[in-house]
């Protein structure tokens, strides 16, 4: 089945068509072809969110998946983030959830929050 996409690699926003053999058309430059192939064969996203934190100055601590995860797992990963509650102190890069939903990717803190 042919898929239609918009290339996000530059403001031109070419309308791409990707066929079942991963041939890309409609791209003005090679970056669009690479994006189209990746987006159809293995789309991934970095998920950013925040988790509840106790004994910190704020109620929430921002987090992200350290690397992109498969797009189809976004909602599972979010559920796991929503169910997580951590304690201050926490520092940038600290692992908040290891190997989230079996993706092999950790969820890490993105803000330093001291204990109060």
């Amino acid at each position: 089945m042919e898929r239609e996409l918009i290339c996000i690699c530059c403001p031109r926003g070419c309308h791409l068509k990707v066929d079942e053999n991963l041939n890309v058309t409609g791209n003005f430059c090679p970056r669009g072809a690479a994006y189209g192939k990746q987006e159809v064969s293995n789309p991934t996203r970095v998920v950013t969110s925040s988790v509840r934190i106790s004994h910190a100055e704020l109620a929430m601590c921002p987090v992200k998946t350290k690397d992109p995860i498969p797009k189809g797992k976004i909602f599972d990963v979010m559920q796991s983030i929503i169910n997580t509650h951590i304690e201050a102190p926490v520092h940038i890069g600290d692992v908040v959830i290891a190997d989230v939903c079996g993706t092999g990717v950790d969820v890490v803190a993105t803000r330093n929050m001291e204990k109060i």
Partner: protein, 419 residues
Amino acid sequence: MKTKDLVIIGGGSAGMAAAVAAYDKGIRDILILERNEFLGGILNQCIHNGFGLTLFKEELTGPEFASRLIEQIKERKIEYKLHTYVTNISHDKVVTYSNAKEGVVELQAKAIVMAAGCYERNAGAIGIPGDRPAGILTAGQAQLFLNEYGYLVGKRVFILGSGDIGLIMARRLTLEGAKVLGVAEICAWSNGLNRNMVQCLYDYNIPLYLSHTVSKIVGKSRLEKVIISKVDERMQPIPGTEMEFDCDTLVLSIGLVPNNDLLNNAGAAKGRSRGALVNENFETTIDGIFSCGNVLHVHDLVDNVAMEATVAGRSAADYILGNLKRGDKKIAVQAGDGIGYVVPGEIDLSSASEALEFKFRVRKPSKNVYIVYKFNGEVVKKVFKPVIIPSEMEIQKMPKSLLKNDQGTIEVSLVQKEE
């Protein structure tokens, strides 16, 4: 009266980058005044990624970017006061601030860097007809509540305006379990980046209604529904095109405005960006007062904010050290056809560096155009752009040798390429 060499108003990315740059040029008597309880400004609530690609060559989230700057402030032991609100700046650089500990304080500064950021246009700014129930708020407010305090602002949400913050909140709210029913945009094009259109709306099948606006708000105490209509060329709702959405929350993402009141009141001339008029050193029309970041013009990339603030901070240091050369001849910079504004608004060739930098936004998305620079009526530079859009600030450089006279006017305009 107490004195300080350099007072910086606002501890966001612009204020911190300016402080670091001034320190590194030898200024030690620096004070940053910040009204919030943290340094970092708006970055603290922008928990999504996409920051820092130019400056740190890494894709960072907002808080991560902020923490890099905060570390630079702490390493240098630059003084800052939090929970401290600046209420006035005078023409002769007296800064008035207040906080719970000191009360109201007046401070004589040798130089000032204004870095107070921007604010969001709210419901009052656009006058939608209908009721005024609870449940209407700006995208930035929704972002702050959710990301820092953990409150989901509603369960069924409609978004007005396709600016990037609105798009990012559409995704955030969806991931947190709210139903985002759609986004209405009054322009015929989206005002967000492609990347945000794709990853925030298309990924979650959220419909975008272009050339549409909210024409009526309905609800007694809490919002119950919004009615949207298609608009004509004059942006007026067309009767008979109404669509109803049952929702408890309307999120507004209808534009950011420089928070420039303090400089206005001090008597600094205004520019077309709604910030102050500055020269190529980011000095306003008041000697020794500089402006940078979103208080000068609204940026889409924090990297550009930090780079601009670095120049402003260095210039402030030069001013304090008596090294800022200022001629009495000026070149005015004007936004011509198709261009919203240009920063800087004037250029002093005697103090300008070899490469002049122009930052501007076009008024609408355009293809196959030239950006044309005319100096005193003559074309001195032409840049071809296959695509140019209002949501991405354009930055172009020009060697100052192209300007053969130290007085006159440069006009930047957009000209369609003939087929």
